[in-house]
């Protein structure tokens, strides 16, 4: 089996070209995956939450749970807090 003449020149150059193209493909792939798996779902979740948000209802629920210092459950202003 006689081998054809192998490449003798520019071995490092060809290796670097191959390495850089692999690195470029992997980087772009990683960025696309990140967008698809993390960024876009997160944006959709925020959108869903904020469009369906009723802030006043949430305020009343929190007030009744007794979370606030300035207003008591039931709606009365709390003057003793400060």
């Amino acid at each position: 089996m006689s081998a054809a003449r192998p490449q003798l020149r520019g071995l490092l150059k060809s290796q670097l070209k191959r390495d850089f193209s692999i690195a470029a493909v992997l980087s772009v792939g990683a960025a696309v995956m990140w967008q698809a798996v993390v960024v876009l779902p997160r944006k959709r979740r925020y959108e869903a939450f904020l469009t369906n948000l009723d802030a006043d209802k949430e305020f009343i629920r929190m007030r009744e749970a007794g979370v606030f210092q300035s207003v008591k459950p039931g709606g009365e202003i709390n003057d003793e807090a400060w």
């Binding site: 081998a3 003449r5 192998p6 490449q7 003798l8 020149r9 520019g10 071995l11 490092l12 150059k13 290796q15």
Partner: protein, 153 residues
């Protein structure tokens, strides 16, 4: 103005004279300012004709070997043949084997592909000159180990 010109000329003469005396002023591929691009055949021909000079001495053989070893290429078989014949002319057997080892190392990850091809091309010259390959000498494996220079205090 004339004084500045002559002083600059004098410094050029000084450096050129020093370069000539130091026996290292030979192989420079590029002029200082112009970017000389030569073709592969010219490059090969230059090194081959350099090694083929009948009056070459050990200093220049080593210089050319170190220089071509620094480039991103494995030397063409014809250049290696010329280098081995130059080693024969300067009567340095060890340098010939060293250079064969250097080329084998230069092939890097493609050693299995390139080295057998090289050996096939070089075999006539090796038999003609009586040079053993590193494998025949047993130097493809380490023969002994020495203390690292960094551990010597």
């Amino acid at each position: 103005m004339l004084r500045i010109f002559t002083s600059r000329v004098a410094s050029v003469v000084e450096t050129a004279a020093r370069a000539n005396l130091s026996a290292t002023s030979i192989v420079s591929r590029r002029c200082m300012s112009k970017h000389v691009v030569e073709s592969e055949e010219e490059f090969d021909a230059r090194y081959e004709s350099f090694f083929n000079r009948p009056d070459i001495d050990g200093w220049e053989v080593r210089k050319a070997m170190n220089d071509i070893h620094a480039d991103d290429l494995v030397p063409e078989p014809k250049i290696v043949i010329a280098a081995l014949k130059a080693c024969r002319r300067i009567n340095d057997y060890a340098l010939a084997v060293r250079y064969l080892e250097a080329i084998k190392d230069k092939t890097g990850p493609k050693q299995g592909e390139i080295w057998p091809y090289m050996l096939k091309e070089l075999q006539p010259t090796l038999s003609e000159l009586g040079i053993s390959t590193p494998e025949e000498m047993g130097y493809d494996k380490p023969e002994f180990a020495s203390e690292s220079v960094y551990d010597m205090h």
